[in-house]
Symmetry: C2
Subunit: 427 residues, 2 copies
C-alpha cells in the first residue's frame, strides 16, 4: 500500500515502529560508506599485473621508435592513441593522450576557452555571460569546474534516453551565451542511463547560436558494464557530429581510472582535427609531454579492445554483487510504497535514488546519524541545489556486498521515516 | 692575436683559409645535434632499476596507509613531499607533488593568476597590463608561457651572480604591473650561473609594488652537479623570504625529469602555507589527484637526499666528458681571439656562448649548413629577440663526447668565419 494513502493514525503508528527499528540500528554503531565512487582494494587487485609489464629489462621504445623514457611526443604514443580510440569507439587520429586524469583535461579545456578562446573565437573571459547546460542529476565535479569559472549553469532534466533534447535544442540553438553542456552519455553519473541513438543524433544535429558551443562528452563509463549479456551501446558522437556537418562541436573524454588504477591511469580527449590543432598549439606551451612510460605500460598490458573488455569483465564480477545486493533491498523494502524510485543500471558506478520531494537531505542526515555515510543531498545538482530535495547518489563500489546490503537496510529505513515525517506534515 | 686587431688583408686571407676548411667540413655530410637539452639513452640507462621497485607483489600503501592505487590525496604522498622537499632544500610542509612536468605547474600557476587571481588579488586578466621580468639569456619555455598570456616581458641582464638586482629592485619595487620574474637560480639555463647568497637575499628582501608579485623560482638543476668536488650552493629561497617578511612572494619548482626519466618523473611546487592553500582550493576542482604510484616508485627508489645525490653522481659521470670535450675545443680554438666568451658551468645542462654582436644567427645558419644543429639564435630571449644577436645555447647532453667534440670543431670554425665576415663589414 502506498504511504500516501495511509491515514494520519496509520502513519503515526508506522512511525513509532520505524523509530524503534532506527534506534536499534543506531545502537549497532555502524560505520559504512556509500558515498565514494571508487573501487575497493579487492577490485584493484585484478589490475596488479599491469605493474609487471614494464621493468628494467623491458624494451622501452614505442612502435615508432620513441624512447619512452626521454622527452618528446606531446600528444601521446601512437599505440596509446589507438588504445584510447578503441575504448571510445573512435579512430586514433581524433585522440590526444594525457596524464592520469580526464577531469584535468576537462578543466584545461574550459580554462583555455576562457583565456585563449576556442579555435579563434573570443575568449570567454571577455564575455559578459557564459552559460552551460547541466543535465540533472549529474556529476558534481563537472559542475564544480564551471562554477569555479563563474559560468551560469542551467538545469536540464534527464530521462532514461538522455537529457530533455527539446530543452537542449531550445537553449543551444537560440542563446549564443550557451557555450557548453556537460554529458555522461553512457551509464550516466548518477542514474546509469545511456543516451539513445536518437538523443545522440539530436546532439550531433544541434545548430548552436554560438560558434564555439561545445558538447563536453565525458564517456567515463564507456566500457564499464556490469553484465556480460546486458550491455548498453552508445553511438560514436565524433562521427555523428561529422556526418551532421558539426565536426568541431564535441570534446570527448575518457580514462583508465576505473580500468587500471584511479591513482595511476591514463586519460585522453577525442575531438576533430581543428580542435586538436587548437589544443596542441596551447599544449606545447603548457608541457613538454605526459608520462609515456605509463602510456606504454597500459598498451603493453591491455593490448587492444579485446584486452580491455576481458579486463572489464573482471571488474564487473566484483561490482555486480554489490549493485545487486543494494537493489534487492530497495526492491524488497520499497516496491509499491510510492516513496522513492530507482533504476537498475547496466553499468557505471552509481545507483540514483529519487525520494519524495523534500526528503533527500533528511534521509542523508538520518543515515549519517545511524553510521551510514552518503553523498550530500544536492551534490548531483549545480550549486549543490536540488530544487526538489529529492535525489541521492549511492555508490556501491567501495564496501563489500554484505556491507552494502547492511547499509541499504539502514537507507530504506531512513527513506521510510523521512517519508512518513513528510506526509505527516500535511495530514 | 685578437681578430679585431687584424688588418683587412689579414682578415681576407684568414677568411679564405677558413672557407676552405668549412667546405671540407661540409663535404663530410655530418648530422650532429647540439640543440636538445635532454639526456642520451646511455645516460637514461642509469635509472632503469626504478622500474623494478614497484611490481605486482609490492605493498602499495604509502606510509600513512593510503592505497596508492586508488583515488585520494590531492597534494602528494607524505613521503613524496619529503623527497621533493629534500631535493629543493625546504621542508615537506611547503610542498605539493604533482604529475610529471614542472613546466605544467608553472603554466597552471600563471593561468590561475590570470583567471582567479592569487590569494584574493585581482585576476590578472582584468588588468590592463601585466609585466614579467626575464633574466636573459634564459629558458625559452618560460618566456613562451608568459608570451602566450600576452604578458609584457622585460629583459634583465644576467651576471655570474644572478640577475642585475639593481634593475630587478627598480622594476619590482616601483611598478605594480610587474607581477613576476622567471628565475633558474642554480646552474642557470643556459649560462650555468648560480645566484650568489647576496642575490638570493636581495630577492627575498624585495618590496614589491604589487601585492601579488611572485618570484617563479625554477630550481630545475638544484642537484644537477657535474663534479663531485666543485659544486655550487644556493640559499633556500623559501626560508629567506620568510625571514625577510615576504613568505608569500615565491613559487619554487623542481622535478625529477633529469633525475629519473624525462618521460616519467614527478614534479613539485614549494611555497608558503598561504599560497599552498590558495593553490589547493583550485587544484581540488582541477583534478582528483596525481599519479601516486609513480610518486611511490620514486620514493622507494631514491629513498632520501643521499639516494638522490648518489644517483646524480652517476648522471654527472655521463655528462662531464661531454661538457669537457666541448669546452676543450672552445678553449683550444677561441681563447685570446676576442670573438666569443663562454663559461665552464659546474652543473646544469647547457653551455652558453656569446659571440661578437650581430653574429649569432649567422653562426647558427653556418653550422646548420655544415650538418650541426643548434638551438635557434634568439631562443634564449623573450619574443626570440636577442637585441645583440650574440647568444647561442649549446646542449652537450644528447650526443656522445666524440660527437660533441666534432660538433664543437664545426662550431668554432663557424664562429671564426662569422666573426671575420662581421669585422670585414667595417674594415
Amino acid at each position: 500500500m502506498q504511504y500516501s494513502e495511509l491515514s494520519r493514525e496509520e502513519l503515526l503508528s508506522l512511525k513509532s515502529e520505524l523509530d524503534e527499528r532506527y534506534k536499534e540500528s543506531k545502537s549497532k554503531g555502524l560505520n559504512l560508506n556509500m558515498a565514494r565512487g571508487k573501487p575497493s582494494a579487492t577490485q584493484l587487485n585484478v589490475s596488479m599485473d599491469i605493474l609487471d609489464v614494464i621493468n628494467s629489462k623491458s624494451d622501452l621504445n614505442a612502435i615508432d621508435g620513441t624512447d619512452c623514457r626521454n622527452y618528446g611526443v606531446l600528444d601521446g604514443l601512437p599505440e596509446a592513441k589507438q588504445l584510447m580510440a578503441d575504448m571510445m569507439g573512435t579512430t586514433k587520429e581524433h585522440v590526444i593522450v594525457y596524464g592520469n586524469a580526464s577531469l584535468n583535461i576537462m578543466y584545461d579545456q574550459v580554462s583555455r576557452a576562457f583565456i585563449h578562446g576556442l579555435m579563434g573565437n573570443t575568449p570567454w573571459c571577455r564575455l559578459d555571460k557564459v552559460k552551460f547546460l547541466c543535465p540533472v542529476p549529474g556529476y558534481d565535479r563537472h559542475f564544480a569546474i564551471t562554477e569555479s569559472f563563474g559560468v551560469e549553469m542551467i538545469n536540464i532534466p534527464m530521462t532514461e534516453n538522455g537529457p530533455d533534447m527539446d530543452l537542449v535544442e531550445k537553449y543551444v540553438n537560440n542563446d549564443s551565451a550557451v557555450k557548453g553542456i556537460w554529458c555522461v552519455p553512457k551509464y550516466s553519473n548518477p542514474q546509469g542511463f545511456t543516451y539513445s541513438d536518437e538523443t545522440v543524433k539530436r546532439f550531433a544535429g544541434l545548430k548552436p547560436a554560438a560558434n564555439d558551443f561545445r558538447i563536453f562528452w565525458d564517456n567515463a563509463y564507456v566500457i564499464h558494464h556490469l553484465y556480460e549479456d546486458k550491455q548498453d551501446e552508445i553511438l560514436d558522437i565524433i562521427s555523428e557530429c561529422e556526418k551532421a556537418g558539426n565536426p568541431d562541436m564535441v570534446f570527448e573524454f575518457a580514462s583508465t581510472s576505473k580500468v587500471s588504477f584511479p591513482g595511476g591511469g591514463i586519460a585522453a580527449i577525442a575531438a576533430s582535427e581543428g580542435n586538436l590543432n587548437d589544443i596542441k598549439k596551447h599544449l606545447t606551451i603548457q608541457t613538454i609531454g605526459y608520462d609515456k612510460l605509463n602510456q606504454l605500460r597500459h598498451v603493453r598490458y591491455f593490448k587492444n579492445l579485446d584486452g580491455l573488455k576481458a579486463h572489464m569483465a573482471k571488474h564487473a564480477e566484483q561490482l555486480r554483487p554489490k549493485f545487486e545486493a543494494t537493489l534487492k533491498v530497495f526492491d524488497d523494502e520499497l516496491t509499491g510504497l510510492g516513496i522513492g524510485s530507482w533504476y537498475a543500471p547496466r553499468g557505471g558506478y552509481f545507483i540514483s535514488f529519487d525520494a519524495m520531494e523534500g526528503c533527500a537531505k533528511s534521509i542523508v542526515a538520518k543515515c549519517k546519524e545511524a553510521g551510514v555515510t552518503l553523498t550530500n543531498a544536492g551534490a548531483t545538482f549545480p550549486y549543490h541545489k536540488d530544487p526538489k530535495d529529492s535525489n541521492i547518489r549511492i555508490a556501491p563500489s567501495f564496501p563489500t556486498a554484505e556491507d552494502m546490503a547492511q547499509a541499504a537496510d539502514i537507507f530504506v529505513l531512513c527513506v521510510k521515516i523521512a517519508s512518513v515525517e513528510k506526509l505527516l506534515e500535511t495530514k
